[in-house]
């Protein structure tokens, strides 16, 4: 089992205020919702973990290896990490099946392994029937499922999903929820989201960010406790807890 730890992680773009300020967290398995208002630093955190950005300060550690950002280390780290950015966009000129195969290969899978894993991953995200369609011709929701298929195909230990359900209709969101629930519980899954409704029952833990600062890091149950009495509607409790955290009441 892998462990993902970040310590004292900070990031800022040149000549601007910090996007993230001294973040600490550690996960060895399970699904975590990263909550926070717009501009809280959710995308920055996910991008740092995906190594699309390099931190100004702090460390990222996967199991025992602290990432030092040499080419060799980056390649080894990226092999363990799958990333679905908020604005995922497939590579033109590829079919859906070819795209998943290519994604897996880019993440270090051998040609043979990538070809074998791609149809299974497509099955898991419900895109098998569209395997011969052009990847760029898929709808927005389908393209995100395609991105997840790419992540699943190379069997990453850490899966990073940035606002995967933003802008999706309820039907697509339900499909995505099901895919998320089916992901191996031994994997570390971090999902940034605005939507607090689906947290209970899907996520094991919650991480709340506001203005680049860590406001909460704990289990979903602990998070919900912040929201009031257990007999209340869980959704109300989550909304209450979230509202209190991002407005600075806790």
């Amino acid at each position: 089992m892998s462990t993902l730890s970040i310590k004292n992680l900070s990031f800022s773009y040149p000549k601007s205020s910090p996007q993230l300020d001294r973040i600490d967290l550690s996960y060895s398995s399970g699904k975590t919702a990263i909550l926070g208002p717009n501009g809280a630093g959710k995308t920055t955190l996910i991008s740092l973990l995906a190594t699309a950005l390099t931190p100004r300060q702090g460390t990222i550690q996967l199991t025992t290896d602290v990432l030092k950002y040499s080419s060799k280390e980056l390649r080894a780290f990226r092999q363990q990490v799958a990333w679905l950015p908020q604005d995922f966009s497939p590579v033109a000129g590829l079919s859906v099946l070819e795209h998943v195969t290519y994604s897996a290969w880019l993440k270090g899978a051998s040609r043979k392994a990538a070809k074998a894993a791609a149809p299974i991953a497509l099955e898991r995200v419900g895109l098998s029937e569209m395997s011969k369609h052009k990847a760029t011709a898929l709808s927005g929701g389908q393209q995100r499922r395609l991105g997840i298929a790419g992540a699943l195909a190379h069997d990453a230990a850490v899966i990073l999903l940035d606002e995967p359900t933003a802008g999706l209709d309820p039907n697509q969101r339900d499909k995505f929820q099901k895919i998320l629930n089916d992901i191996d519980p031994q994997k570390i899954v971090l999902v940034s989201t605005h939507q607090t409704e689906d947290i209970d029952g899907t996520f094991d833990s919650v991480f709340v960010l506001d203005q680049g600062r860590q406001k909460f890091h704990g289990s979903t149950a602990d998070f919900m406790e912040l929201g009031g009495f257990t007999e209340d509607d869980p959704r109300d409790r989550i909304r209450t807890a979230y509202g209190q955290l991002v407005s600075g009441e806790h």
Partner: protein, 425 residues
């Protein structure tokens, strides 16, 4: 890893191959490469215009596909070289196929086996193709596809077409296209021209790929990654080095990268006069007797006797001093052209040493009439040709008067004097 089916190089290859063939068929005289593998292999450089354009355009399309994607290629576990190799091999291969087909076509037309060293020229072509692929890839990474592809087309074309048109000769050899000026039968390719292409293209490939590897300064999204100023500096420095090294190697060049060939063995035959031709000139048959007869006909009517006629170019000799005449000879010459070239050797020597003075125009007019008369005479005597002398005044005179005027003009021009023109006699 990327499937071949939807790669632009696959469907653009046949189009460019046909265009290259049509171009070669329209603008290249296959006779010029007969027996001359140097000219054949170098001649294929003219189709770099198409192979390099193909490489550049396809690479730009491929690169744009990568740039327009998000979340797929940014954080890969595959090394950069691995990834661009997977991206660019069809572009490089298609362009190489075009170039190799053209080389083979011209070499077969030359009916001679190229010497092993000529593989350097093919290596130069391959590296030029790689440089244009790297350039297209760089454009595709830095600019959106709607700009990158037209840029690749226009900029590669401008580089290929206009380096050869520059008044600064060393720049001609950067693109490799001017190698097709090589070679007459008595010349060889100057390999410094090939080294210019090899060194410039290798370094340019490295420079463009380095710049392309850095996240571009006009990113689609700010979170696409961070740029490394050192990579910009390194990439730009390598490009400057490529240009400097290329121009340095070709610094002494004139318009064509050729050398007077001393390695091509000249064999001398006959005695009156002896005629020296090299292997390329003898390709397709020995016509040295035709040369000898042409010179003999003129010496029999009073022109100085030559001991030897050689077709070695830039052999700066004077008949009066060494007894040697220099002619030109190509294996594709017709008999008329052989006789014309041999019989004009006398007047050619004069034009090579024509004195510069105030009467230059008059001297030149006399030279033209002399050349016309002497070649007409030899063509008539050797091949029975009945072409008329162009100068009316000379034509109206008797043969003996014509002969005397020609000999007198030859001697006077040799002494830097200005002979009287036939119309003034």
């Amino acid at each position: 890893m990327l499937p071949i089916a939807n790669r632009p190089a696959l469907w653009l290859l046949p189009v460019f191959l046909v265009i290259a063939f049509v171009y070669l068929g329209s603008y290249t005289e296959l006779d010029l490469v007969l027996g001359n593998p140097d000219a054949a292999v170098s001649g294929a450089s003219s189709t770099l215009l198409f192979s390099c354009l193909l490489a550049s355009i396809c690479a730009a399309i491929e690169s744009s596909r990568e740039r327009n994607s998000r979340g797929v290629t940014e954080v890969t576990s595959r090394g950069y070289l691995y990834r661009i190799l997977d991206r660019l091999w069809p572009s490089v291969l298609s362009a190489t196929i075009i170039q190799i087909v053209m080389v083979v076509y011209l070499v077969v037309s030359s009916r001679q086996t190229p010497e092993p060293k000529l593989w350097l020229v093919v290596l130069g072509y391959l590296l030029a193709i790689m440089a244009h692929s790297a350039f297209g890839y760089f454009l595709g990474q830095w600019f959106p596809g709607r700009f990158a592809v037209p840029f690749a087309l226009v900029l590669s074309y401008l580089f290929l077409a206009f380096t050869g048109a520059s008044g600064y000769f060393p720049a001609h050899y950067l693109s490799g296209m001017t190698l097709n000026g090589c070679c007459m039968a008595a010349q060889s390719l100057d390999y410094r021209g090939v080294w210019t292409l090899i060194v410039f293209s290798s370094l340019a490939t490295l420079g463009f790929l380095t710049l392309a590897s850095n996240n571009n300064p006009f990113p689609k999204k700010k979170t696409a990654g961070q740029t490394a100023p050192r990579k910009y500096a390194f990439g730009a420095s390598v490009l400057v080095l490529a240009l400097t090294a290329g121009l340095f190697i070709s610094r002494d060049f004139d318009g064509i990268a050729v050398v007077n060939d001393e390695t091509k063995r000249f064999t001398c035959t006959g005695t009156s006069p002896q005629v020296c031709l090299n292997d390329v000139q003898r390709f397709g048959g020995d016509r040295s007797e035709l040369v000898a007869q042409s010179v003999r006909e003129l010496s029999e009517i009073g022109f100085p006797k030559a001991k030897r006629v050689t077709a070695e170019l830039d052999h700066d000799v004077r008949l009066a001093e060494t007894g040697e005449l220099v002619t030109s000879f190509e294996p594709w010459y017709t008999d008329e052209q052989v006789v014309y070239a041999a019989s004009s050797s006398y007047s050619a020597e004069i034009i090579n040493h024509l004195c510069e003075n105030d009467d230059f125009d008059k001297q030149y007019e006399a030279f033209e009439i002399l050349q016309d008369w002497s070649t007409n005479y030899a063509l008539h005597k050797v091949l029975g040709s009945n072409a008329e002398i162009t100068d009316e005044a000379l034509r109206s005179k008797s043969f003996e008067q014509q002969r005397r005027w020609a000999l007198n003009a030859y001697q006077q021009l040799s002494r830097c004097e200005v002979p009287a023109l036939p119309k003034g006699l």
